[in-house]
Amino acid sequence: KTITEKDIDSILSDLELILLQNDVSLKVTEEIKEILKKKISGKKINLLENKRAFIKNALKEAIREILSSEKIDLIERIKAKKPFVIMFVGFNGTGKTTTIAKLGNILKKKGFSVVFSASDTFRAGSIEQLEKHAQNVGIRVIKHRYGGDPAAVAFDAIEHAKARNIDVVMIDTAGRSEMNKNLIEEVKKVKRIAKPDLTIFVADALAGNSIVEQAEKFSDVGIDCSVLTKIDADARGGGALSIIFVTGKPVLYVGTGQGYDDLKEFDPELILKNIF
């Protein structure tokens, strides 16, 4: 028997709903549906096979493929360059500062020396917050005053790292709206000066459709990978699919809580388990 477009439409309509309920954005859900249609419509399956099972499995494999594309070996990259500069960017309140503390903690445990750059010179209490986290994990913070130039702090932190033979510099930036052109320009400037080896986009797993707009606008800044936080809040993780689909870059870690050990390597099966 043949899989027709009509079959795909009717069977995908309820699978589509499951994707949406798992916080995959509407735009990405529809694009995946189109990709799947092109791939399997007209395909012949034997008379004993179940059409629904075939289509469902094709969707699962298509999603697995998207989620598993390109991996980044962070440790290998860090070993290859000194100081290795990592910059964190993203929307307000997504967990950038906390993620820096967690990743700094992980790298320190693996034997690397780390320094933080307090390049959020805007938000109230941002420097104290980073400093307290740094104190808890035993990492030094390079900071200026509030209102200072974020790029200048990053420059200072990198110079400090070069002088002290430090392995990794992690740059914290202020949260910003993807719709604010001036703020996007500001973070592009920080990137021009700091020339990071890795730029990480931090997003909230609880976010819905706006995660696509965030991913697109921050992608414009130039990102190498993403971290999806607050997965522990019963978030289904569909945002990971949207981000990877839109940016073409992998999700490196997921945030699974507020403790320093709550950063786990991204596992596509986690998302697939929720959806299927």
């Binding site: 109230a124 709206s177 719709m179 909230d204 459709n209 507020q258």
Partner: protein
Amino acid sequence: VLGEALNKALKKLTRGVVDEKLIKEIVKDIQRALIAADVNIELVFQLSKNIEKRAFEEKLPKGVSRKEHIIRIVYDELTKILGEKHEQIYLNPSESTVLLMVGIQGSGKTTTTGKLARFFQKRGFKVGIVCSDTWRPGAYHQLQQYCSPHNIEVFGDPDEKDAIKLAKEGVKYFRKKKYDVIIVDTAGRHKEEKGLIEEMKKISKAVNPNEVILVIDGTIGQQAMPQAKAFSEATPVGSIIVTKLDGSAKGGGALSSAAMTKAKIKFIGEGEKIDDLEEFDPKKFVSRLLG
């Protein structure tokens, strides 16, 4: 008997005049708009069922197109959830009004606490803020730095580990000073963190707020409704403030939360500055939601 047959025929006739295909198409478009705006999927289906039913059954008013009529129905169905106009936070005239800010990590509680305090201060009220967040590093400093330029007093103690004790002491402190409004900021939490949900219950029991305000991130997706449900079951939510609507998000999660908790959205946040707080306007919100 003749009357009944005629009635049936008339019904069929009017049904025939109604463009079923067009109505279904328009409702499908509205469904997509609501889903793209982050409205809870179950709520979208409930709403579109009501909208479609009314579109078929209600008589098309003179001079109004089918599409305009359906849009009016959509507005009507949404304002049933959101209310017709802006609703105030009620202030007790005879004693301090205590407001308790709760919500998920990073939703904007601390920033909104400052904004709300400033809102009341501008209107001539004496406002005090209590920082009872004992978890987040720099929480007290954040409030202190944000509010001190406006001479809004913040009560807190970065070394205190007991959030309930801190909230109690802070409220007592401002009650003694006969402040009009006391706003208590709390640590972020979500429904899976049972210990923190329990802490929130205890804080609420200790300070007995006039209103529990749920601060919702404008970007929140399908988890808005289940989270709002859990918060409301722990501490009945009196009102909602939606933040970050200066991003690309349409705020459908907040609408879903309002539907679940029966609480009204009273303010929206459209920026990080202390004046970026606006009184909620249902019509504006719905038109933005529908794009």
